[in-house]
Amino acid sequence: MPKGRSRFILLLAGLFILNIGLFLLSLNLGSIQISPAEVLDTFLGNGDTRQELVLFQFRLPGIVIALLVGMALSVSGVILQGVTQNDLAEPGILGINTGAGFVVVLYIFFFQSSMNSISGWGTYLLPLFALIGAFLAALIVYALAWHKGVEPIRLILVGIGVNAGFSAALILFQVQMDPQDFMQAMVWLSGDIWSANWNFVAATAPWMILLIIYSLYKTSALNVLTLGDDLAKGLGAPVEKERRILLLLAVGLAGLSVAAAGGIAFLGLVAPHMARRIVGPRHERMLPVSALLGAAILQGADIIGSNLTPSAEIPVGIVVTIVSTPYFIYLLMKTN
């Protein structure tokens, strides 16, 4: 269908431009306003040192993280929804975010003195711990939901339960932190592009980019899996193997996102749904569209969060939750 194809390319181009627009907007907004012309000047190397510092050291790493995490979470949601055949699957609801957050807090609690003082090797180890936590949570959920196969509904309910368990375990450690760290951990766990600097980007970005590209390559496997096990097996696909690879991919993306930006919930649910409405269920189209949508939503939320009130920055995860829960509830009411 050439018509559908050109429409798809137009859509991708549109989303791409939207992302660039948001990117430029968030570069020039903030407590220190830098006009677009000045931004351009600074990028060309003609800005003053203060502008360079603000743009390159403070704003740019955060924006890069927002872009990548937005994509990673959306892709993770797409894969989870496809593999579990459940429209409401999402790393936040399934407890994967909380599991990753739990292990990260443990790591900070035992090996680092506070949330702010992570540096050097500590930064590069953080994603590793987040991944361990994400896989641990996913394993627990999968094992507990297993009863002659994994039924989608059981998976979701078990995910909610495991989520509650990790939250309780988290509180156990959080109350032993001093109040400052307690609040910081709290905020970070609900999703915050926290102390984003280039070290952080270097520690997480390459992995995220790699996994996102790999999942683009895996879209046909996803298409086959959504046909249902019987049909997929009939087509000669190694169903269990593909399912495991895809699940690992989704959990890996979610874990990395938590390492980079805390436990942002609902984004992995909302972006895929919007994409499905726009381009239909075929993953080779739906996945890139939802990745770009996710990036745009997270950038937008970041702009709102850091500019809405002058007195304090509102963490991006909070904005995402407030904006996307009404949509989630709408979906919940519609699904049978």
Partner: protein, 346 residues
Amino acid sequence: MKLGEVNRTSHEERPKRVGRAAVLFVLSVTGLFFSLGWSVALGASDIELSTVWQAVTAFDESNTNHQVIQELRMPRAVAAALVGGFLAVSGAVMQGLTRNPLASPSVMGVTHGAAFALIVALVFFPSLSNAGMMFASFIGAGLAVILVIAVGSFSKGGLTPVKLALAGVAIGGMLSSLSTAISLHFQVAKQMSFWYAGGLANTNWASVKVLLIAGIVGLLIALAISKSMTVLSLGEDISKGLGQNTILIKTLGVIVVFILAGAAVSVAGTVGFIGLVIPHITRFLVGSDYRLIIPLSAMFGGLLLVVADTGARLVNAPYETPVGVITALIGVPFFLYLARGERGSM
């Protein structure tokens, strides 16, 4: 309603069940009495049980132990018993009204609703009295319950357990995000941290008094509708067919939940899962008659929270472990057990 225990005992003779319930009631009252004594006696400094008894019967103002008992430990233990009982009863009422095994204050975002209302009150009406704060938390708790039930009821396929749980996650998530946003904006985040940790450390006789008032009203209404609720829990059609005013019963039930859960949350913050676990255990023991379930749930819930709170003080003494962690330790496996049994459609 899955979890086939609901009508398990219906074939048994009614007197037999009432007899068993009476025995259980006496046992739980005794258990509660002793656990209260134990809870008051144990702590940062251990006090002899006989001293506890003396502090109650022959209070001596010059005795520090007596002071500690009267002013710190006793109100705390009594508040724990009341909060636990309230949470259990509101869980039982929710499960009865929605005929949904997962219905309970923690699953339905009640805590987040109450915390949200308290933050709003704290920011916009800072001069509000304690009673006013309590009232705000009633409203918040009620708001969350109404939203969750509304989302579930107006959705395709009705209020299934999964829908209820997910609606609870969504509404709870939204309300707690709003609270965090407000508290960061108005810089009252520190006061918020109490809510997340929860616990009974700050209770005094004043909070016990408020709890008692809420408890008398809430429990009386709960008992008054308990007979109708038994019928309603068999099905809406049966209830209507027998000429019951289901709307009135449901409204009263929701009011009970407002009052009891709101009061409990405003005193103790986040204490999860009591309202989920206790009603199930009670139903398993005495069958589906809410005239028996409600008083017994109250006793069992009180007993559980008194024990859990004492444990919370002793596990890592002299530091306190949040009591919500202890109840989650019991509640999460139970929730998972219920979830595994769940096989209905969305």
